[in-house]
């Protein structure tokens, strides 16, 4: 008991609390404290009084230090290394991971399904829109061609009408020859405009076969001049413009090889008309 008192009086306990001892002395003090409750109590008293003394001499750090320090601890909270000593891998951790995984898997599954459904709907939508577009394009094309037809027809009729309006046109009716007595064809000719038209709508002549074509001739000073070939069938209508000529005494139509001849085949003369 006397030894303990001497030990306490030596001042080693104060130095121990102040961290002012060698590792050997430290181990010794700790061993003594475990063995003797009175030393432990003495140590506790010294610690308590120095702690209070520090409290009396406390200096408040600046206000923003609190956040700074706590943030640096929170950052360290997220650091895996700080957990190693304090926490061991428990069942708790093993359970948490699969639950999180299952949940995130589900989210991806639903997201994928939603995306896939959207894709299907989009493709269907595109397909129907494409069909409608195609339909519209066809309609536009047919309308355009119809429009073209009308334009052509209007142009043609305009020209036909022009023939009748224009006083320079002379009308000549070609009469059928002995070869084809019933044939008849109206020719309109404007010497001023050098224009020759034939009226297919009111023509009455036998239809030509596919090897032959009718050829129109103008007689200029007794010589035949080619004015072009034409077909006659039941569907031909409207007026047809032939090659131009400035002067003519007479017009005649012969039946020639398809494509026409350089000189008329006189024995195939179908119609003739003179001024």
């Amino acid at each position: 008991m006397e030894d303990i008192k001497v030990y306490i009086e030596s001042g080693i306990l104060e130095l121990y609390v102040l961290g002012n001892v060698t590792p050997e002395e430290r181990a010794q003090v700790e061993a003594m404290a475990q063995k003797h409750p009175s030393i432990k109590a003495e140590l506790d008293e010294i610690e308590r009084s120095l702690e209070l003394y520090a409290g009396e001499n406390a200096v408040e750090p600046s206000k923003d230090m609190r956040n700074r320090v706590l943030n640096s601890l929170v950052v360290n909270l997220g650091d895996d290394r700080t957990f190693k000593s304090a926490r061991t891998a428990t069942d708790e951790e093993n359970n948490v991971i699969p639950i999180l995984r299952a949940r995130s898997n589900n989210i991806f599954k639903y997201a994928f399904a939603a995306c896939f459904a959207l894709l299907i709907i989009s493709i269907a939508g595109l397909f129907s829109v494409y069909n409608k577009l195609q339909e519209s394009n066809n309609l536009v094309a047919s309308l355009q061609s119809q429009n073209q037809q009308f334009t052509n027809q209007v142009n043609l009729m305009d020209r036909e009408l022009g023939v009748f309006r224009d006083p320079s046109f002379k009308m000549l009716k070609l009469q059928g020859t002995s070869k084809s007595p019933s044939s008849a064809l109206m020719v309109a000719w404007s010497p001023a405009r050098k224009k020759v038209m034939i009226d297919m709508a009111n023509a009455s002549m036998p239809a030509n076969d596919k090897d032959h074509q009718y050829q129109l001739w103008a007689m200029v000073g007794g010589k035949p001049v080619d004015l072009g070939v034409f077909d006659a069938d039941t569907t031909s209508k409207g007026m047809k413009e032939m090659k131009s000529i400035a002067s003519a005494d007479a017009f005649a139509v012969t039946l020639e090889q398809r494509g026409g001849s350089l000189t008329p085949t006189m024995d195939q003369m179908m119609m003739i008309g003179k001024f």
Partner: protein, 183 residues
């Protein structure tokens, strides 16, 4: 920062919470001990900015190596203040710090800083005047050298020009005086 009420726990509660690494433990730890630890650190390094860095390092070290503390070794504050004091002493003995304070002899500042501190902080500290009167000047200087300046008792003996045994005795009587005062 909102003005939060400072958190305070009993030492047992705090130690348990720290062992469980609860966020509230970090806050309580700071609120309960930052000023006491800062008082020690700032007296050792004599530089407020540097002391703040060391205070932060101290809390990080306390937090990260808390598993090495056990209640059997003694009070929590004793363990923490030794961490703070060692970090501060390491700093002032480092090359950086010596270069920084080339012309300042640490010894010359010892009394000056404390006088400055006392005039600045005295009004906030209840009972300090009584306490100062309780301690004899030689008790106060040895306590301050060792506790607040980080001197070893050997360095303190050198500084004060007294034998090592006298240092130990003075330290013991100074602490005994504190015990009497706080009881």
């Amino acid at each position: 920062m909102s003005k939060k009420r400072k958190i305070s726990l009993s030492e047992e509660e705090l130690v348990l919470a720290l062992q469980r690494r609860e966020n509230i433990a970090a806050e309580a730890l700071y609120d309960m001990y930052s000023a006491s630890l800062f008082g020690v650190i700032v007296r050792i390094v004599n530089d407020e900015t540097l002391a703040e860095d060391i205070l932060q390092d101290t809390f990080v070290k306390i937090w990260n190596s808390f598993s090495s503390y056990s209640t059997e070794k003694g009070r929590l504050f004793t363990w923490m203040v030794n961490i703070a004091r060692n970090l501060a002493i390491d700093k002032i003995r480092s090359k950086d710090f010596k270069n920084q304070t080339k012309n300042q002899e640490l010894e010359n500042n010892v009394t000056f800083i404390d006088e400055q501190r006392n005039t600045v902080y005295k009004p906030e500290l209840l009972g300090v005047k009584d306490l100062v009167e309780q301690l004899k000047p030689e008790q106060k200087s040895i306590l301050n050298l060792v506790y607040f300046k980080g001197y070893t008792h050997v360095e303190a003996a050198d500084e004060l020009g007294v034998p090592l045994g006298t240092i130990k005795t003075r330290l013991r009587t100074a602490i005994a005086q504190l015990r009497k005062y706080f009881n």
